[in-house]
């Protein structure tokens, strides 16, 4: 049977736990310490709990830092927000060029129907819209292409920067089969990018850096040696490539 003494002692045990955790207010702490003076069982318990907490203090997690910078993580968050639900501003930005393209299609469609009997002024109006709109469309397409490519490359490189899946086929090696394949696909897409447009010319140096690292990743074996992967990870850090990609995509998106 547990009497009032048992209940009281349970209260002290709780205070001893909190004392071990350093979570008592000064007055409670003083009372607990006074109790310990006359209670060998609680002293023993405190010592045992402190040993356990010293073990947890040695947990390497205390010193762990995220493998990505705040900038790279912020880029991931922004992409995640874009994928799940574009903001009103982003929807507007996407719809504007579509509206412009629709205007071009309507203008082209309207020309034959209008025929030669239309007054010249009416025929000239769609042509005026078309020149300006086409220029905007070209710039938009070039920018979108470059942004999509950079985002895809960043996805691969972010995975590379944290890769640690053990290879099932070869012990002590890292599985990068997916990253290597996606790098090869991206390298194949690279010549298709339209980079002659003035609005995307500034992306070239970043794309060249990306290409360099993607070539390294593409050349890795599916079960890569940890040191080969670490060399690429160092290269990524030295060139601060994830941050550069982030800044460039933001610049391209205006």
């Amino acid at each position: 049977m547990r009497g009032a003494g048992g209940w009281l002692h349970e209260r002290w045990r709780r205070r001893v736990s909190l004392l071990a955790l350093g979570a008592l207010e000064p007055a409670e702490r003083a009372a607990a310490l006074a109790h310990l003076e006359r209670c060998p069982a609680c002293r023993e318990e405190l010592a045992a709990l402190r040993d356990v907490l010293a073990l947890v203090d040695a947990d390497p997690v205390h010193d762990a830092a995220p493998p990505l910078s705040a900038a790279a993580l912020a880029a991931r968050v922004r992409r995640r927000l874009d994928v799940s639900r574009p903001s009103a501003a982003a929807r507007g930005a996407m719809l504007r060029p579509l509206a412009a393209a629709a205007a071009v299609v309507l203008a082209v469609w309207a020309l034959p129907a209008a025929g030669p009997r239309r007054p010249p002024a009416a025929a000239a109006r769609p042509a005026e819209v078309t020149d300006e709109t086409l220029e905007r469309l070209e710039a938009h397409v070039a920018r979108e292409q470059a942004v999509r490519y950079l985002n895809a490359a960043q996805d691969v490189l972010v995975t590379v920067s944290v890769a640690r899946r053990d290879c099932e086929r070869k012990g002590g090696r890292v599985d990068v089969a997916g990253e290597a394949r996606r790098s090869r696909e991206l390298l194949e897409r690279r010549p298709l990018l339209e980079l002659n447009h003035a609005r995307v010319a500034s992306a070239r140096p970043v794309l060249d850096d990306v290409e360099l690292v993607l070539r390294d990743v593409a050349s890795l074996e599916a079960c890569a040696r940890a040191r080969d992967l670490a060399a690429i990870q160092r290269l990524l850090q030295q060139r601060r490539l994830l941050m550069k990609i982030d800044l460039m995509t933001r610049e391209l998106q205006g």
């Binding site: 709990l49 010193d63 762990a64 830092a65 493998p67 993580l73 944290v162």
Partner: protein, 178 residues
């Protein structure tokens, strides 16, 4: 936060700069998996951005983010996405450049890994809420009222949870030496 609620996404980065290390450490201590912890950081800020309009300007951002992060970790744990997985918290990529400068010896790393695995198993034996309370106290050194605010609990519940958690850990870790 008010400006974030109005869609100023560029404010995400300074917010993450201030809080992402702490949130990562909490998530890693709770989930014991580096990839899951990184996802938890990302999801925390995605949810913070989406919920910025609901943030109470009279309260601090830190505990609010902590609450989002811990709730996410509890969800992940309950979904059982990472049953039995143990992180390698000493892997090179878990550390930033400053930590790498003070890299431990290989022997120390092996010992650290074994210890981390034992601690991970012991922490996994705790109910989700107890684990959250213990992680916030011991890995983030939050005060009891801060933990109570972050998790929406009373201070009394926080105390009981800590008491039970530390005794459960004692059962699991007794006899082990750091």
């Amino acid at each position: 936060m008010g400006r974030l609620a109005q869609g100023e996404r560029e404010l995400l980065e300074p917010l993450m700069q201030r809080h992402h290390r702490r949130i990562y450490r909490i998530a890693l201590a709770y989930l014991r998996d580096a990839d899951e912890a990184l996802d938890a950081v990302q999801e925390t800020f995605v949810k913070a951005y989406r919920g910025a309009a609901r943030w109470d300007p009279g309260s601090e951002v830190g505990p609010w983010l902590t609450r989002i992060a811990v709730n996410h970790c509890i969800d992940v744990y309950r979904r059982g996405r990472r049953v039995g997985a143990v992180a390698d918290p000493l892997a090179e990529t878990d550390h930033d450049a400053r930590a790498a400068d003070q890299a431990p010896s290989p022997e120390r790393r092996v010992l650290g890994r074994e210890l981390a695995e034992r601690i991970a198993r012991a922490l996994r034996s705790l109910p989700p809420q107890q684990r959250a309370v213990f992680v916030l106290r011991h890995y983030d050194e939050m005060s009891l009222p801060e933990i109570a605010t972050s998790l929406g609990l009373s201070v009394g519940t926080v105390k009981s949870s800590l008491h039970r958690a530390v005794h459960r850990l004692r059962e699991r870790l007794e006899g082990l030496r750091a």
